[in-house]
Symmetry: C2
Subunit: 182 residues, 2 copies
């Protein structure tokens, strides 16, 4: 197995906004709490906090301080099947910038074990600066992460990155499949 | 700063048995619980579990399932000053194989914030397989980690690795200082 992995290309995959539909869940909570109807389309090019009313921002920030928040985020459509299939041809790591929200470690780990049990725990990474990641590709929605990564960054479309043109782009998991498995 | 970091060599440093005197604290607990006087010298070339009485092994395993255990481990002698000084010349990351003990995430993070507050959280990594680490050097006591690392592995002496000859060796933090800062 070790000998095989040495010759496999390695894909690192971000968690929030790529495997996990974090913003949608955040909007669900926000709309419920404040009786609003904000959609991802409303966010076009902005981050969530700048798109909502100032008085509400602290409430939304507090979502990210709850372990329960991370436990309940939905899986991004198509991610489970495609990650499973990528693993037959690539050495796949999940790489999450969890250091921003230290309370999220356990909940993120449990979420991965629940929704992606076929990814071995040896292939889960919680980090801050993703320049530490040794991989051929990084699929990430965050331009900051892609810019410092040493391999090829692939941008996963999210409301906040739609203007970005420096990276090859995937809009969804079907696009990931088409890029890496066809 | 970013431009400077690009030209700095990067050192990744393991946590348990390198920055944290994990085995010594484990022995302290064990000796107290079972009224024994096992020292690190008794372990010569063996791991802790194989060196103690069979009937006690499950108790010692359980130490690692407690958050409190990780919170109370002592800092390895000389590590704080040397890491701080390395950071003036190198891009330093802490890389811990925390995925083996998922309950340890928060406690390990808090321990680092308490004892190494000068290491930014962006430079803390919790992973499983350390082949994911992109760095020039990895200082680690674990041969398994050093063997798959892509840069130069530097072995930090621990009771279980004293027979190993494949890597440049440091016996303590004075040796680390001598190797990287003189």
């Amino acid at each position: 197995l070790a000998a095989t992995l040495e010759w496999m290309q390695r894909i690192a995959i971000d968690m929030d906004e790529v495997m996990a539909d974090t913003i949608q869940y955040c909007l669900d909570l926000y709309n419920k709490q404040f009786d609003r109807a904000v959609t991802v389309d409303h966010l076009h090019g902005r981050n969530l906090l700048s798109a909502i009313e100032t008085a509400h921002r602290q409430h939304v920030r507090s979502y990210f301080e709850s372990e329960e928040f991370f436990a309940n985020i939905h899986v991004m459509e198509g991610s489970q099947d495609t990650v499973r299939d990528l693993m037959t041809t690539y050495d796949v790591f999940v790489v999450s910038a969890a250091m921003d929200v230290p309370r999220s470690f356990s909940a993120k780990f449990e979420w991965l074990r629940q929704h992606f049990p076929f990814i071995p725990t040896s292939h889960i990474v919680f980090c801050g600066d993703k320049s530490i990641v040794a991989a051929d590709y990084l699929i990430d929605d965050n331009v900051r992460n892609l810019a410092t990564f040493g391999g090829e960054g692939i941008i996963f479309t999210s409301h906040h990155n739609i203007e970005e043109t420096r990276f090859r782009r995937v809009n969804n998991w079907d696009d990931v499949r088409a890029m890496f498995l066809t």
